[in-house]
Each structure stands twice: as structure tokens, then as C-alpha cells.
């Protein structure tokens, strides 16, 4: 993954400016920044959902937006929204996405089990708690065994047990290249190789995690 001077606007307002970074395959980038700093914008851009307005963006070795079609099926995107239909059950939602991604139906049961939702998998999503929905959203994001995981605050609403349970799917040992946003200085740095600090749409710091301390992260939020 490679960004050179990447930028994105919404109307007149810049949401992301001049981001340059490189992430090797299999590594993890953690993104810190206050609300509105541009973290979600960065992730949506990498997910091919937003086209970059400036600079160059390469994902899984392919230039965006031109080669978006080639990388789409290899990206797992966990966004703020669960991307699940509320009137369908978790299982029905996952079956739907499995068909779109041409994944075998057996995989649906496997990921449901892995996120601990086998028991409530047949309830409509509308009737589930926030944490349960987040578990299903994680199941959806990893359903097609993506090479690149884009995780927007992946542990939001999860209890500690659930967080531990989903770690093999979306954690450092998942084997995928990962970009993770976080508001938790200590937890966020764990298992990450590179840390990016965003503030008001600009890069505040970009360094290996070993060189980043709580002080620098705290500075972002001041």
C-alpha cells in the first residue's frame, strides 16, 4: 500500500491533505486522531469507496481509482456502519454477501461461529444489541478472507471477551495487511508496526510504533 500526497475534499472542506506513507504487505498501520481528523475518510479512500482528489494511491499494488475493480474483492472493510440489512438475520446478511463475493455457504457458518453469533444468527439484525451487530459486521468484513483489512474502530461496543474472540479474525495474527483506526493510545499501538497521527486533515506524525509514545498521541487531542 502506497500513498503519495493523497488528498480528499468534501465540497470546499478538505478532509485529508497531503498524506504520504507506505505500508508493506502483512504489516499493520494504526491511525490516531481526534473526531473529524480524517481517519474514516482515509479508510474509505483505501476501500475504493471515495476517489482521491489529489495525489497517488496504490492499494495491493494497484493504482486507485483506475484499478479499483481489481482490488475490491480483496479488501475487508469494517466501517462505522455495519453494512447489514436490519430486516434480515445475521445469517441471511452473510449469505447475501457470500454470494456477492462468491464464497462457499459453509464459510458463513464458520465466521458466525468464530464471532460467537451462531446462537443469535437467525434473529433480525434490528433486534440485536450494538455489540452483537459489531460482531456480525466483523464476520461480514472477513467473510471473503481479504488480503487487506480496513478497520474503523473495530472494537467499538465489544466487551473484553468478544474483543479477545475476534482477535484471530482481525488481529495482527490474521495474516492480512491492516489499517486500524483507534482512540485508545495503549491498545491501538499493540500489534501495530506503524503509527499515523492525523489532526485537522493533516499528518501530525508518522513513525514506527516503537518511536511513538502516549505523549505524542495525547498531543493530537489537545
Amino acid at each position: 500500500m502506497q500513498l503519495r500526497g493523497a488528498g480528499r475534499r468534501y465540497g470546499e472542506r478538505a478532509a485529508l491533505r497531503d498524506v504520504t506513507l507506505e505500508l508493506e504487505a502483512g504489516r499493520t498501520l494504526v491511525v490516531f486522531g481526534p473526531n473529524g481528523a480524517g481517519k474514516t475518510t482515509l479508510l474509505r479512500m483505501l476501500a475504493t469507496l471515495l476517489r482521491p482528489h489529489a495525489g497517488e494511491v496504490r492499494v495491493l499494488g494497484r493504482p486507485l481509482p483506475d484499478d479499483g475493480y481489481a482490488v475490491r474483492g480483496r479488501i475487508g472493510f469494517l466501517s462505522h456502519e455495519a453494512l447489514l440489512y436490519r430486516e434480515l438475520s445475521g445469517r441471511e446478511n452473510l449469505r447475501f454477501y457470500a454470494r456477492l463475493h462468491r464464497v462457499a455457504p459453509a464459510r458463513v457458518d464458520a465466521v458466525l461461529e468464530a464471532v460467537g453469533m451462531t446462537g443469535r444468527g437467525d434473529d433480525p439484525v434490528a433486534e440485536l444489541s450494538r455489540g452483537m451487530i459489531q460482531r456480525l459486521a466483523i464476520a461480514r468484513a472477513v467473510l471473503h478472507e481479504p488480503d487487506l483489512l480496513l478497520l474503523d474502530e473495530p472494537l467499538a461496543n465489544l466487551d473484553p471477551a468478544a474483543a479477545a474472540q475476534v482477535a484471530p479474525l482481525i488481529g495482527p495474527d490474521s495474516g492480512a495487511t491492516r489499517v486500524v483506526t483507534s482512540h485508545d493510545p495503549a491498545g491501538g499501538l499493540q500489534g501495530a508496526d506503524l503509527a499515523l497521527g492525523l489532526k485537522a486533515a493533516r499528518v501530525a506524525f508518522l513513525a514506527p510504533t516503537a518511536e511513538i509514545g502516549p505523549a505524542q498521541i495525547g498531543e493530537l487531542y489537545r
Partner: protein, 224 residues
Amino acid sequence: MRSTVATLLAKELTLEWRTRESVPAMVLFSIATYVVFHFGLDRDRVTGDLASGVLVVTLLFAAILGINRLFVAEHEQGGFDGFLLAPVDRTAMLVAKAVALFCFLCIVEVFALPAFALLLLGPPLTQALPALVLVLLLANAGIAVIGTLVAGLAIQTRARDLIVPLLALPLLVPVVLAAARSATPLLQDGGAGALPGNWMAMLAIYDLLFALIAFAVFDFLLED
């Protein structure tokens, strides 16, 4: 592409079956409108061009309700993002939505036509029915394609409820015109006349034209 369309369409029909959001509203709207015409026109039998006009225009207004709701679940529940992240042909969503809307309109007419015959129509419906069904199927196809295109455009904007009728009604004037003219001889007093071939041809050509336009531009509607 075929299997993607099938997957999307199955999801579409399941959601409508669960929520019953569009079809019942469209059915109730059209029946209520025929009741209003029944009293508003102060007649219990209309024929010919008046009958076909009332029939078709009411169905068009009912369709607007369904068009308005066509992409709401995708927009509000993240279906667009989920779909855009999948390695599939994006035109599949256009086809699936248009086919779903087409099915909804057909179901609505199963209820609306008897109500129309009961409340307003002078001559008996039975004789004209096969030809009338043909006219309505062609009209439904046009409404489905144009409606999907307009709905896809409007969902990106804030004033969806305003944009949909404002765009769809003018674009659908030729469909209404051709469908109403085609149906007129069918609903005449003293037995159904022959289908006017030129109006039917115009309806079919307009449907085809917009199907091609929709194919060409729908990708751009979904793109950021």
C-alpha cells in the same frame, strides 16, 4: 452478472415481503384514488380515453411512492457500500432494482385493476383484459427503468421526495401518453377495439431507449 442479479433480486423481494413497505402503500393509494375519482367525477362509469387516462395516471402516481423508497434501505443501512465493495458488475443493481420495481407494479395492478373495473369502468373488463395486460406490462417496464434511474439519482440528494416526482413525471409523460392511447380503444363502450400498433410501438421504443440510457449511466450514479 446473472447470478449477481438473482442474489440482489432475492434480497429485494425478501426485504419487501418482511417490511411490506412499498407494495401495500401503492395498492392502497391506487384504490383510494379510484374511489376519489368515483366521487369526484360523479360518475360510476367512464369509458374510452377518460377511462384509460384515469387508469394509467393513477398507476403512475402510485409508482412514484415505490420509486421514492427504492434505494432507501441501501442508503440508510449501508447496502450501497456493501455492494460497491463486492467484486461484481455494478449494472447488476440497476437490473435487480428495475426488475423488483416491475414486479411490485405488476402486483399492484392485480389489486388496482379490479378496483378500477368495479368503481369506474363502464364496459366489462374481461374482453379487453389480455390486450390491456400487454399495454400495462410495457408501461411497467418503462416506469421501472426510468424510476430506478431517477431513484438512484435522487437518493444522493437531500430533497429526495421532491426530486423523484420532479424528474420522474416529465420523463414518464411519453410512457403515460403511449400507454393511455394504447388502452383507449380497449376500454370503449360496445366491445374492445383493436390495439393501436403505432402507440404500442412507441411505448416499446421509449422503454428500450431508456433501458440503454440507464445501462450507460447507472455506473456513474453509484460512483462517488
